[in-house]
């Protein structure tokens, strides 16, 4: 039965701790989201449950966690809609070859390394109820994801959104996330198909749903933007309709055997991408989602994370390997690919550092993995640690390899043939003049 007092007390406590820890992390030049992730872990068995087990049981009795989990899942549905909303495929097209190569390598490198690492981890951290293919593909998807919202926020805070590095990072992160979610959808279907419909039927249904969304619903959604353009605002009725569409899309993907979050993400991706319209929707939705509901998700994730499960030398070796492979794959892969396309090494390393941030998106993926039992609670805790470490290292690494003057001085480079041609053309025009 719902104990309203306990639930409200939990929400109040989570909000307070997340705000305080988030502010403290901002003081040390870390994104607030890292502090909130840390706050969630503090409230779980890793810290509170360890130092004060009685208080932990009183504040978070196991029977009450269901309600907290439901609330946080609603928040994540809206959040995934916002993530999809922020993704603009045009940005990738504008970046050309550099973005295509960098984004694809930044997925492939950590993905392949993670699958390779799975050969070592599978016999140690999994069991025979999980097929190796599902386990390995999940590890690949989890390691190749980039925290698109965190990255966008870091770039905005540092006024880097319009720099070459910023636009390339946003475009690559968008591709990474879309690819990561597609792979994850496949894994979920693969895992669940054994108990429900066949993989082919589910994938076929999902493809049909995506086609309907792309070629049907997408055009209808333009009505929202039209209304915003005409009035400068969107009425409450239309906002309610939009939410209804998000929830319906989420339910469709759940019924198709994937997950609620895919539908919400897809609906966001299908929305019109006019900049002011997107900003308006983000402002309207973010207030409640980011302030109230996301901290609940951090807390429920923290309550499921038990760093105490990572014990013994072998476990810590596994944890260390996960962090190293995730960092080398993502940071190294992105740096190498962007350097290869003509970006100066420092900028390329800056891009790698940005792409290495996993943040909240990683936690969402890991929660799905734990729910469908592809990963064990111990591996979940290790991966949460990895998400925390890679996100924490983003800003210090960025400041180290790519300090502000480098970003401000972003120029077309002489190693880029296109730039050479453009520079040559300018010189000729100058001579002609």
């Amino acid at each position: 039965m719902l104990d309203l007092f306990t639930l409200v007390m939990q929400i109040a406590l989570i909000l307070a701790v997340c705000r305080v820890v988030g502010a403290l992390f901002q003081k040390i030049h870390q994104p607030k989201v890292v502090g909130e992730m840390f706050a969630g872990i503090m409230l779980g068995p890793s810290l509170l449950g360890w130092i004060a087990p009685q208080a932990s049981v009183y504040l978070f009795p196991p029977s009450s966690l269901v309600f907290l989990d439901v609330l946080s899942q609603v928040g994540i549905i809206v959040f995934m809609f916002l993530v999809g909303l922020g993704i603009n495929s045009k940005e990738l097209k504008e970046q050309g070859h550099a973005a295509v190569l960098t984004s694809h390598v930044s997925i492939t490198a950590p993905f392949v390394l993670a699958v390779l690492l799975s050969l070592y981890l599978y016999p140690r951290l999994s069991d025979d109820s999980v097929a190796f293919t599902s386990f390995a593909l999940f590890m690949g998807a989890a390691m190749s994801i980039t925290a698109f919202p965190v990255l966008a926020r870091i770039l905005a805070e540092r006024n880097m959104l319009d720099s070459r590095l910023g636009t390339l990072a946003v475009a690559c992160a968008a591709v990474d996330d879309v690819t990561g979610w597609c792979i994850l959808a496949y894994i979920v279907v693969l895992t669940r198909a054994a108990h429900t419909a066949s993989v082919t039927v589910t994938l076929g249904g999902l493809a049909a749903f995506a086609l309907i969304m792309t070629y049907g619903v997408r055009y209808l959604l333009r009505g929202f933007e039209k209304s915003y353009r005409n009035r400068g605002t969107i009425s409450e009725d239309l906002m309610a309709l939009m939410l209804l569409l998000v929830l319906t899309s989420a339910l469709c993907t759940q019924l198709l055997g994937v997950h609620l979050l895919f539908g919400a993400f897809l609906m966001g991706a299908m929305m019109p991408k006019e900049r002011h319209f997107v900003r308006y929707l983000q402002d309207r939705f973010e207030t409640i989602t980011v302030t109230l509901l996301l901290p609940l998700f951090f807390a429920t994730t923290g309550l499921r994370t038990n760093i105490g499960l990572v014990k013994g030398r072998e476990m810590w070796v596994c944890c260390g390997l996960i962090i190293v492979v995730a960092t080398v794959g993502k940071l190294g892969g992105s740096t190498l690919a962007s350097w290869f396309t003509g970006m100066p090494l420092r900028e390329a390393a800056g891009l790698g550092a940005l792409m290495n941030a996993r943040g909240l998106m990683e936690l969402v993926i890991l929660s799905i993995g734990l729910d469908i039992k592809v990963i064990s609670p111990t591996l979940f805790s290790m991966m949460v640690l990895m998400a925390l470490v890679t996100t924490v290292m983003t800003i210090p690494l960025l400041e180290m390899v790519c300090p502000e003057p480098v970003i401000r001085g972003t120029m077309p480079t002489i190693s880029d043939p296109d730039s050479k041609a453009r520079l040559g053309e300018k010189a000729i025009d100058g001579a002609a003049a």
Partner: protein
């Protein structure tokens, strides 16, 4: 004269641009093949190799301990016997070979410990959360040593084995049998 030179320069620049575009495209295709194509081929090979790997038998979940048959025998185990009989369930959280074990009476955890699984053999030890204060011998913690063999496939798994008290030479091990009722550990929900 100057316009002819400019025209020449323009032509040369056009040629340079075409060449550089060609070079750039070729470089892109090569880079794409090396950095994306080759790893994807490698990925297929790794996935194929991984299928031959064997992971430990899955024992995670809630196990119903058949305590009624052995209620009297459980009572003979000093200090720890009280939490074993009746409706006690055994909850196992698994991570590869490593197990976290707990005896539960409803939502209450009565004993907690860890164990290992090797092929189908489980070995573990648990300590009670609270010992009866009037039993002086219980003040020094005594652990239940669990040893069992897992049978059956997938969800319909059962285990049979013995439980004994650590450091008690006079106590006879008690045989038990348990059936997995859910593959989700209570602690996760």
């Amino acid at each position: 004269m100057l316009s002819a030179q400019v025209s020449d320069l323009r032509k040369q620049n056009e040629i340079y641009k075409t060449k550089s575009m060609y070079r750039k495209n070729l470089k892109f295709v090569m880079a794409y093949l090396i950095l994306v194509g080759v790893p994807i081929v490698g990925l297929a090979a790794i996935l194929r190799a991984g299928r031959t790997l064997a992971a430990p038998v899955s024992v995670a979940g809630v196990w119903k301990v058949d305590g009624h048959a052995n209620a009297a025998a459980f009572d003979t185990l000093p200090c720890v016997g009280r939490f074993l009989p009746g409706s006690t369930s055994l909850s196992i959280m698994q991570s590869g070979r490593n197990l976290t074990l707990s005896f539960n009476d409803g939502s209450k955890v009565t004993a907690f410990g860890s164990g290992l699984i090797d092929r189908r053999a489980i070995k573990g030890s648990l300590a009670a959360n609270q010992y009866p204060e009037h039993e002086i011998a219980c003040r020094s913690e005594r652990r239940v040593m669990l040893s069992a063999i897992v049978d059956g496939e997938s969800l319909h798994r059962s285990m049979s084995g013995t439980m004994a008290v650590d450091g008690c030479s006079s106590c006879l091990p008690v045989e038990f049998r348990a059936v997995r009722t859910s593959s989700v550990s209570q602690e996760l929900r």
